[in-house]
C-alpha cells in the first residue's frame, strides 16, 4: 500500500512550513531578547544533528547486513563526551575570545592565521562533506519515492497532456534546503554570531527524529512482534547463521564490506568534534559554556535512545520482508508493508528532519569557511568599496548553494553504488584529518604551521587517493583499471592496497595510511621548522588559555607598537567597509566603553595595538581570522604605519612574573643607590648612570623644582653634555616639562620624527635624539617635585608601557629620596637656628649676670654706721638687672644722706641710667646742697638722657642730721616713705611736692623737713613692695606695710628688711617678685 504522491508532497510541504515557522519564531524571540534556544536542552538536541539520515535509515541497514557493529558510530561520540568538559570547554573559550567562525578558522588561527591552512581545511571540508550531503539527498529522495509509491529513479515522471513532466526530487530538495539555509543561516555576515532560528529548527528536527524512530521501533517490537526477546528468538530460529553473524563482531574480516570496530570507533570519536557542522553547533552556536555539562550526558542518552530499536527493526525487517535487501529503508518499508501508513509517514518526516538539519548546518558552516578562506583572500587584494558588505553576504549565500549542489553532484555521480553508512564513513575519514593539527594545536606548543599544513595536506592526499578516488571509481565514473591494477599498472600504488598492504578493508586501509602520513608529517615538520612570531602569539592564546585566571592578575605586556598612530575613526571606517556602518559603529562603541580617550578623541599610544587587535577580531567574526589579519595589515601599510616589535628592553626571557629579571634588577639597584647615601647629588647621578648603563639611553636628566617653583637641572648624565643655557637643545622640551608638571603624567615621544608640530624640537633632532620620555618625579598623590627626562638616539618606540612603568616607579623612589633629604635638611637648619638662638641667649644671660653683679656692686654693701641711728638697705630685683637704686652718703659722724630711686623698666637701659644717677649723685652729695637742689640738679643733668632713653626716674632724697634729729627731704614722684613712731598705731607719710625726674627741665622740688625721735622707724621703699600682688590680685598695699612695720619696728633694721621680704613672699605666694623691691630702713635709736 502506498500513500501516493500528492499526500506525501503535501505533508512534506506542511512540515517544511512548520520548520520555517519554528525557526522564524526562535529568531523573533531572540530579537525581543527572550531566547528559547539558550538552554542546555536545546544545545544538546542541536548536537544531535550528528544523527543524520545515516543514523535514521543507515543504521538499520547496517544492522541488518553487518550487525551490531553499527553501534560503534555512536559509542565513539558517547565516549568522547567524557572529554568535553576539558576539550570542548577549551575550544569554546578560545573561539569566543577570538570570534572564531568555523573549524577552518580555528585551525588557521592557531597556526599563525595562515590563509593557506584555512583554505586547505576548507577544501578538505567541502570534498569530504560531498558524499555526506549526497547521502542525505539520496536517502530523502529514496524515502520519498518509497512513501509516494514510485519506483526508485532519479526523478518522478508525471504524465502531462502531451509531454511528460519530470520532477527531480533530489534537485528540488537541494533547492529547498539551500533556500532554508540561506534564510536562517546567512541572514547577516557576522558568522561568529549565533543563528537561533537555524538552531531551533535543528533541535526540533532532532526531537522529530527521535519520536519517529521510537514510533517505528515500538510498532515493530511490540506491534508486529512481542517484544525484544520474541524478535531475537524467532530470528535465531529462522536464521541461526545470520543471527550469530549479526550479534558478533567480525574480527577476522570475512565480509568485504565490514569495517573493523576500531576504525569506526576511532573515526566517530573524531567526527563528533571535527565535522564542520558539529564544530559549528557545539562551538559557534554555544551560548553558555555551562551548557556543556548537561549536554555531556543528554547527548549520549539521545544516541542511546535513538539506537535502542535499531536492532529489533533490522531483525524484524528481515523476518517480514524475508531478506536484508533494501534494509537501508526498513524504517519506512516495514510500516508500509504492514499497512501502517501513518507511522511510515512519520518515519519519512523523521528522515526528512535528519537530512534537513544536517544539510542546513553543514552548508552554513562550510559556506562560512568558503567565504573566509576561498573568496576573502581574493577580495582582500581589491580596494574596499562601499558595496563590499553586500558582496560578502551574497558570496556567503552563494557558498551555501555551492556546497549543497556539490553534494547533489556527487549523489548523481556515485549515487547508488554505496550503502548509506559507507558513504558517511568517507566524510568521517576526511574529518579525521583535522585531528592531529587540532589536538596538537591545543596541547602541544611546538606544533607549528609547517607541520599542520604538511600533515593535513599529506593526510588529505592519502584520503583522496585511497578513499575518494575508489568511491568514484566504483561508480564507474573514472574506470576500474585504477583499482585493479594501480596507476600506470604499478601494483604498489593501487589505491586500495598501497605499498602492497593487502587484506585490509577500504576504510581501515585509508585511515591507517592517511593518519600515518598526517601525524608523522605534522610532528616531523613541527620539529624541523621554527614557529614564526605570529604563531607564537597564537600559541600563547591557545595553550595558555587555562592560565587565564592566573594571568588576569598580572598586567598584559604589550610587545608591539604601531609605528604611526592611527585614529579610532580610521579603524571604524575600515570595519564599516566590510561589515557595514551600523555594525562597525556598534562594535567600536562597545570597545571604547570606559576606556580613556585623550583630547583628540583617540586612545593612548599603548592601547593602539589593542584597538588594532579588536578591529581584527571584529572583522574575523565575519571574514575569518586570516582575511581579517590581511585586511588590517594592508590598511596599516596604506596609512604608512605598521606593527613593529617593541624594542625588548628586557632582553632575556621573561620570568613568569609580570616583570622581567632586568626590571627587577634595576629596581633593586635603584633602591640600593637611594638607600646608600643621603647625598642627593650622588643618588641622582648614580641613578641616571644606572639607567644609561642598563637601557639603550643616551642622555638622562633630572630636574628638580626649587621652592619658588622653577625647574633647575640637578643632574645631567650621558652624551652631549654641555652647560645648561637658554640655548641648550634640552630647553626645547620645556613645553613637555610644563605639561608633565601640570598633569603629573609621563609624556613620551616614541618617534620624534612623527611628533606633532606644535612643539619645535629641531635642535633635539639635530642632536640625533629619536625618542624621549619625560617622567614626573612625584610621590603618590602629591604634586610633582621634578622631572626625569631620558633620551635615546638609537631606538624609536623604546618607551613601552612597561618601561615607562619602571621609570615612573624609579622616579617615585627618587621623589621619596628627595623628599626625605629635603626634610632632613630642613630639620638640620631648624636645629642649627635653635642652637644659635640658645647660644645667643646664653651669652645674653651671662652678660646680664655680669651686669647684675655689677649693678649689685653699685649698691652699697652695707649701710654706714652713725651714732644714734641704725640703717639698712637691700634691693632684690625681679630681672637680672633692675632700675631700683638706693644709696647712703655719710658726710660726717652726725650727718648722712640717703636716697632711694626707681628707674622705670628693668632693662639694661634702666640699669645704665641707674649707674649714671649714681655717678652724678657722687659728685653732688659732697657739696652742701640740700635735697631739693640735688634733685633739681639731677633732673637738669639727666633730662636729656632720660628723654632720649624714654625713661623716668622717681627718687626720694633725704638728709638726716643726728645732732638736730632732723630729716630734711625732697621727693621726685617716689612712693612716700613711712614713719612709724613709737607708741603710735599708725604711720606717717613723708610727702613733698616734686615732679618725676626726666619729664621736664627745671623742676622745682619742695624741700621739707621732719624731726625724728628716738624709736622712730622710717621705711623707704620702691613701688615693688606695695604693688606686690597675691593670687587674688590684691596689692600688698601701704596699710599692710604700715601694720607690718609696726609689728617689726622693735627689730634691728636689717631684720626689719628681711621680715618684709619674707612677708611679701608669703603674700604673693612666690619666691620671685614681679617687680624689683628695694627697702631702706632708718631707725632712730
Amino acid at each position: 500500500m502506498k500513500s501516493g504522491l500528492v499526500p506525501a508532497a503535501l505533508i512534506s510541504i506542511i512540515y517544511t512550513l512548520l520548520i520555517f515557522l519554528i525557526a522564524w519564531y526562535a529568531r523573533h524571540r531572540k530579537e525581543t531578547g527572550r531566547s528559547i534556544v539558550g538552554n542546555p536542552y536545546v544545545y544538546s538536541l542541536s548536537i544531535a544533528v550528528y544523527c543524520t539520515t545515516w543514523t535514521f535509515y543507515g543504521s538499520v541497514g547496517k544492522a541488518a547486513t553487518t550487525g551490531i557493529d553499527f553501534l560503534m558510530i555512536y559509542l565513539g561520540p558517547s565516549l568522547t563526551a567524557f572529554s568535553w568538559f576539558f576539550l570542548l570547554r577549551r575550544i569554546i573559550k578560545i573561539s569566543k575570545e577570538n570570534n572564531i567562525t568555523s573549524i577552518a578558522d580555528f585551525i588557521s588561527l592557531r597556526y599563525g592565521k595562515s590563509p593557506w591552512l584555512g583554505a586547505l581545511v576548507t577544501l578538505i571540508a567541502i570534498l569530504g562533506i560531498m558524499p555526506y550531503i549526497a547521502l542525505q539527498l539520496k536517502a530523502v529522495s529514496t524515502s520519498f519515492f518509497l512513501i509516494s509509491g514510485f519506483n526508485q529513479t532519479q526523478s518522478i515522471h508525471i504524465p502531462h497532456s502531451d509531454t511528460e513532466l519530470s520532477l527531480p526530487v533530489g534537485l528540488l530538495l537541494a533547492i529547498i534546503l539551500s533556500l532554508f539555509s540561506v534564510i536562517f543561516g546567512a541572514r547577516t555576515l557576522v558568522s561568529s554570531e549565533r543563528h537561533e532560528g537555524l538552531i531551533a529548527a535543528v533541535a526540533f528536527e532532532s526531537l522529530v527524529k527521535l519520536a519517529s524512530m521510537f514510533a517505528v521501533g515500538l510498532l515493530v517490537t511490540y506491534g508486529l512482534f512481542d517484544g525484544f526477546t520474541d524478535i531475537f528468538t524467532r530470528f535465531s530460529a529462522q536464521y541461526p547463521d545470520l543471527f550469530a553473524q549479526l550479534f558478533t563482531l567480525d574480527s577476522a574480516g570475512k565480509n568485504p564490506d565490514y569495517i573493523p570496530t576500531f576504525t569506526m570507533f576511532f573515526m566517530s570519536m573524531g567526527a563528533i568534534m571535527l565535522l564542520p557542522r558539529q564544530f559549528h553547533v557545539m562551538v559557534i552556536e554555544n551560548s553558555d559554556e555551562r551548557h556543556i555539562t548537561k549536554a555531556m550526558w543528554i547527548f549520549p542518552a539521545y544516541l542511546f535512545l535513538i539506537n535502542l530499536f535499531v536492532m529489533p527493526i533490522a531483525l524484524g525487517g528481515i523476518l517480514i520482508t524475508g531478506s536484508a535487501a533494501g534494509a537501508d529503508f526498513f524504517v519506512i518499508s516495514v510500516p508500509l508493508t504492514t499497512g501502517n501508513n501513518t507511522i511510515a509517514m512519520l518515519a519519512f518526516l523523521g528522515g526528512l528532519s535528519a537530512a534537513a538539519g544536517m544539510v542546513m548546518v553543514e552548508s552554513v558552516a562550510i559556506s562560512t569557511m568558503l567565504l573566509n578562506y576561498i573568496f576573502m583572500p581574493i577580495i582582500v587584494r581589491l580596494t574596499p568599496q562601499a558595496w563590499f558588505p553586500h558582496l560578502l553576504i551574497n558570496l556567503k549565500r552563494l557558498g551555501i548553494f555551492l556546497v549543497i549542489f556539490m553534494g547533489y553532484f556527487y549523489y548523481r555521480v556515485v549515487g547508488d553504488s554505496f550503502m548509506l553508512v559507507n558513504m558517511g564513513m568517507i566524510s568521517f575519514s576526511a574529518a579525521s584529518q583535522f585531528l592531529p593539527a587540532m589536538l596538537g594545536g591545543l596541547y602541544w606548543n611546538r606544533g607549528n604551521k609547517a607541520g599542520a599544513i604538511t600533515g593535513i595536506l599529506l593526510g588529505f592526499l592519502t584520503w583522496f587517493y585511497t578513499l575518494l578516488l575508489p568511491s568514484f571509481s566504483r561508480s564507474g565514473w573514472i574506470g576500474t583499471e585504477l583499482l585493479t591494477s594501480g596507476p600506470f599498472g604499478i601494483g604498489l600504488l593501487k589505491p586500495t592496497e598501497l605499498l602492497g598492504m593487502s587484506g585490509m578493508d577500504l576504510w581501515s586501509h585509508s585511515l591507517f595510511w592517511s593518519m600515518l602520513f598526517n601525524i608523522s608529517g605534522y610532528i616531523v615538520c613541527s620539529i624541523l621548522f621554527k614557529q614564526n612570531e605570529h604563531e607564537l602569539d597564537q600559541i600563547r592564546k591557545f595553550i595558555g588559555i587555562f592560565d587565564l585566571e592566573r594571568r588576569r592578575s598580572y598586567r598584559h605586556t604589550e610587545t608591539k607598537r604601531l609605528s604611526k598612530p592611527v585614529t579610532i575613526t580610521k579603524f571604524t571606517n575600515l570595519m564599516a567597509k566590510f561589515i557595514g556602518e551600523p555594525d562597525a559603529h556598534r562594535a567600536i562603541f562597545s570597545y571604547i566603553g570606559n576606556r580613556e580617550i585623550d583630547a583628540s578623541g583617540n586612545v593612548s599610544e599603548f592601547e593602539l595595538p589593542d584597538l588594532k587587535r579588536f578591529t581584527e577580531k571584529t572583522l574575523a567574526g565575519s571574514v575569518g581570522a586570516a582575511a581579517a589579519g590581511a585586511i588590517v595589515d594592508s590598511f596599516l601599510s596604506d596609512m604608512g604605519s605598521r606593527m613593529e616589535s617593541v624594542y625588548d628592553i628586557f632582553s632575556t626571557v621573561r620570568t613568569s612574573l609580570d616583570q622581567s629579571r632586568e626590571a627587577l634588577f634595576v629596581r633593586l639597584k635603584a633602591s640600593e643607590i637611594i638607600n646608600r647615601t643621603l647625598d642627593l647629588q650622588i643618588i641622582m647621578d648614580d641613578l641616571l648612570n644606572l639607567l644609561l648603563k642598563e637601557f639603550k639611553l643616551d642622555v638622562a636628566i633630572i630636574q628638580l623644582s626649587s621652592e619658588n617653583g622653577t625647574l633647575t637641572v640637578r643632574s645631567y648624565q650621558g652624551s652631549n653634555r654641555r652647560p645648561i643655557s637658554p640655548k641648550h637643545w634640552f630647553v626645547e622640551s620645556r613645553p613637555y616639562n610644563d605639561m608633565v608638571l601640570l598633569d603629573r603624567k609621563a609624556h613620551i615621544i616614541n618617534d620624534i620624527s612623527q611628533a606633532s608640530g606644535t612643539v619645535k624640537l629641531e635642535q633635539t633632532v639635530a642632536e640625533g635624539i629619536v625618542s624621549c620620555a619625560h617622567i614626573p618625579i612625584l610621590r603618590e598623590g602629591e604634586a610633582a617635585i621634578g622631572i626625569l627626562s631620558v633620551f635615546s638616539k638609537s631606538i624609536p618606540g623604546l618607551f613601552t608601557e612597561e618601561f615607562i612603568g619602571l621609570l615612573a616607579s624609579l622616579a617615585g623612589q627618587l621623589a621619596q629620596a628627595v623628599t626625605i633629604v629635603r626634610e632632613i635638611e630642613a630639620k638640620d637648619r631648624e636645629r642649627f637656628q635653635k642652637d644659635l638662638a640658645q647660644l645667643e641667649h646664653a651669652r645674653v644671660m651671662r652678660d646680664m649676670e655680669i651686669a647684675q653683679q655689677i649693678q649689685i656692686s653699685l649698691l652699697p654693701d652695707e649701710a654706714p654706721e652713725l651714732f644714734g641711728i641704725e640703717m639698712g638697705g637691700r634691693c632684690i630685683s625681679a630681672a637680672h638687672v633692675g632700675g631700683d637704686y638706693y644709696d647712703f652718703f655719710k658726710h660726717d659722724d652726725h650727718s648722712v644722706d640717703m636716697m632711694i630711686a626707681d628707674v622705670s623698666g628693668h632693662s639694661v637701659g634702666a640699669a645704665l641710667i641707674m649707674a649714671e644717677v649714681r655717678t652724678l649723685l657722687r659728685a653732688l652729695v659732697n657739696s652742701s646742697l640740700n635735697a631739693s637742689t640735688i634733685l633739681h640738679t639731677l633732673n637738669n643733668q639727666l633730662h636729656d638722657d632720660l628723654t632720649r632713653a624714654e625713661l623716668f626716674i622717681t627718687m626720694f632724697y633725704a638728709k638726716y642730721d643726728s645732732t638736730t634729729g632732723r630729716l630734711s627731704y625732697a621727693n621726685a614722684g617716689h612712693n612716700h616713705p613711712l614713719i612709724r613712731r613709737k607708741d603710735v598705731a599708725s604711720c606717717m607719710e613723708l610727702d613733698a611736692e616734686g615732679l618725676i625726674i626726666g619729664v621736664k627741665r627745671s623742676v622745682v622740688f619742695e624741700e621739707r623737713g621732719i624731726e625724728l625721735f628716738k624709736g622712730d622707724v622710717v621705711l623707704f621703699y620702691t613701688d615693688g613692695l606695695n604693688e606686690a600682688t597675691n593670687a587674688q590680685g590684691e596689692f600688698f598695699g601701704t596699710e599692710r606695710i604700715c601694720d607690718h612695720l609696726g609689728s617689726v619696728s622693735h627689730l634691728p633694721a636689717n631684720e626689719i628688711i628681711a621680715s618684709f621680704y619674707k612677708t611679701v613672699a608669703e603674700f604673693t605666694g612666690s619666691d620671685t617678685f614681679q617687680d624689683d623691691i628695694s627697702i631702706v630702713v632708718l631707725k632712730i635709736i
Partner: protein, 85 residues
Amino acid sequence: MLKRLRQKLLHRLQLPESWFIFFILGIIMMNFPFLHIFNKPDTIFGIPLMFLYLFIGWPFSIFVIYLFTLTFDHSDDKHQETRQQ
C-alpha cells in the same frame, strides 16, 4: 554515612585523573581484545550476549558521565558561594 560516602565519591570524581581513567577504560572496553569476552553467539534469556553487553554498558557509562557532571555542578556552586563571601 551514605551522604558522606557520596560526598567522598564526588570529591574523587572531581580529579582530572578520574576523568582520564574512565576515558581510557571506555576505550579499552569498546575494543578488542576485551570485546572477545562477549563476541559469542550465545544468548541470555533469549537476548544475544553482545547486545546485552553494549546496551547495559552504554547506559552505565552515561550514568558515570552524569555522576561526573554532578561533581562539576557541585564544585561550581562552591565557587560561587566562596565568591559571594
